[in-house]
Symmetry: C2
Subunit: 389 residues, 2 copies
């Protein structure tokens, strides 16, 4: 069975690439990586002026496979295929799109599964804490490697949007525009609480083996599955879940109170199973910690306005009406700070019943706003290329 790669609006079959950074890379936690690998994909073509590059930053459970397919038989496209491709919001006919897997990841970039050159053994739970700031600096090395001095846009949803914000603050000269979708300037106590429960679910799974599960051949699927279920419920809205599942039964008889299984239970268990097959426990812990620690205002006396004053980028800020993980009011905080910092910005709150997950979906108004904004950036990139000496 062939996939939709031939349908014209897909980037088609893509081959992941690998960037090896050789130099020591000091992290925010003061530990040092002695070089690192970063897996990434690219879609489209970098123009001669290097003005049309877009960086896609992934969220908690994402990776470098943002669009297209890995083979003719591959039936599942990259995680943001709804928004990346020829003629899509991030139009690969006009942009050169770079999608890396973050440091600490479990899909090829250096992370807990990699060998620590100092010990000859896998890092496992000893992999150092990585932060959003570390990710920005490591992604900048990839940009150097690819000959990209400045991104037309750095784009992300959720934790990806946080990276885009940090890029604009830390490396202002390298970001033309930052697109922050369904994100927050920092996590609330409730956000941290849900992350902590997910971490407890993983670390209290006896199969976790204090993080040394790889060497003992065990796998904390149960803990990772629970973590995913907890996360997943926070990605959906109460209303959306009601519309999708209601109180429909998969089996049993609720009047007789016998053998009852609700559809939503069966769905969650399926999510848990498939996620725990594909995602590494130590990476999950590390990614949630990066989320918790994110606070770009911290370096500026806790003042987000001062932090954002560092940026020279334009901003697009998008939120979704039923997102309660990073609600519209969290995006408003960012918008208010951007206004106070005298930045160019466009923002919109999109009506959607799909909660936080909305950012992954081809919702008409969302795609339309996102696409219009990106088209303006594409025109600007093309003008820059035309003006180049």
């Amino acid at each position: 069975m062939q996939n939709q790669g031939a349908a014209g609006n897909s980037v088609g079959i893509v081959v992941p690439q690998r960037f090896q950074a050789g130099d020591d890379f000091p992290l925010q936690c003061d530990e040092v990586l002695h070089g690192f690998a970063m897996v990434y994909e690219t879609y489209g073509t970098l123009n001669a002026a290097g003005s049309n590059a877009v960086l896609i930053c992934h969220a908690l459970s994402g990776n470098h496979h943002a669009a297209g397919y890995h083979s003719e038989e591959d039936d599942k496209p990259g995680w943001w295929d709804a928004c990346i491709g020829p003629g899509k919001a991030v139009d690969t006919n006009r942009f050169f799109v770079v999608a890396p897997n973050n440091l600490g990841g479990c899909h090829g970039s250096t992370g807990p599964g990699a060998v620590n050159p100092e010990t000859g053994a896998a890092y496992g739970p000893a992999f150092p804490t990585v932060t959003v700031k570390d990710w920005v600096r490591s992604q900048a090395l990839l940009a150097d490697h690819l000959g990209i001095r400045r991104f037309a846009a750095v784009v992300g949803g959720s934790l990806g949007g946080m990276q885009a914000m940090q890029w604009a603050i830390d490396l202002p000269e390298r970001v033309g525009a930052a697109v922050l979708i369904a994100c927050a300037a920092r996590l609330s106590a409730q956000n941290i609480a849900f992350n902590e429960i997910a971490r407890q679910a993983i670390t209290s799974d006896p199969q976790y083996q204090n993080g040394r599960y790889r060497s003992t051949g065990s796998k904390p699927n149960s803990g990772v599955g629970l973590a995913r279920m907890i996360g997943h419920v926070t990605y959906l809205s109460d209303h959306g879940m009601g519309r999708k599942f209601g109180r429909e039964l998969k089996s049993g008889d609720i009047k007789a109170a016998r053998d009852v299984e609700f559809q939503v239970e069966s769905y969650l268990r399926h999510q848990a199973r498939t996620f725990s097959q594909r995602f590494d426990a130590n990476t999950y812990l590390l990614m949630t910690r990066a989320l918790d620690f994110f606070d770009p205002a911290e370096d500026f006396g806790g003042d987000l306005v001062v932090a954002l004053r560092q940026a020279s980028a334009d901003f697009l800020v998008l939120s979704f009406s039923t997102d309660w993980r990073f609600s519209a009011s969290r995006s408003k905080e960012i918008v208010d700070a951007l206004i106070a910092a005298r930045k160019n910005l466009v923002s919109a709150n999109i009506e959607s019943e799909h909660g936080h997950d909305s950012f992954l979906m081809p919702l008409p108004r969302y795609v339309s706003v996102f696409k219009a904004y990106m088209e303006r950036l594409a025109e600007r990139a093309e003008q820059e290329a035309a003006d180049a000496p």
Copy 2:
């Protein structure tokens, strides 16, 4: 150290009592309990006419100890001491208050820890499914035992409010008023999802031993603790957690991304530890199932209005502004159905930052509304007593 029992607004020291039902008790699931024990407390005095009795129904993790202390040294009063006592909303100077531990509980009433007379061994995970309807029928037997033909009020918050609603529908002649606080007419898919994750946390704990942990001497503290953390976060509001914990650190240095522990993490772990010491895993599973299955409209073609038409009680319906477990809109559904069913009702939505947990707290407007309503019922009960032949 003496407790506040002497302070005048406490019911003081109370002694739990025990009711033994001897007859076979058929459950909704068609299984039969060959008699059962029900532990309960009472506060105040039943008048000669028997018109001033109030039944307090407990929620998921509650029990019969609703008010007062168990000894002079006891430093923690019953779970609803804020609302039950001399001069309080449920005034024990005027009402005879009955607070049972539900069937299936783990604090003395027949439940998974009890011995199955048919096998001579503890029921454990084989304890039959109990439903809100079963609880109502079993509580009615306790009322018979105590000589209470009709309750002046059946009162409860959360799952307790659901029991009050079911009482009004199933035994209309025995309920003068039903007080439904922070509850819903049935669970949403999201509610069920959170319960299911809690159950998965318990049953996937290897110490759970398929529910036979008592006989093997193990204890699924980790799973029960996780379940409690998941529940607890849904009892609090995002705003309330932000006010209480914010991003305050208990230890570590977030700028250096080192050894960071947020206050909210430490708090949740403490909650998990103390709850898992006092609560039984099989009971937790059974209580969440009773919540999931609750749907009083089910017997009436799914129409809540028809269901509530069975009731002859008056109703008080209270909700809290930041409650997102059973939000104000869920109380509105009940109110709308009560209006359509032509019932006498009073309802209020109370501003509070404490989320679902608000119903346990002495919030001024909440207590004031609740107390005023209960005073009217006390007057009615006293009038009935005066009119009695």
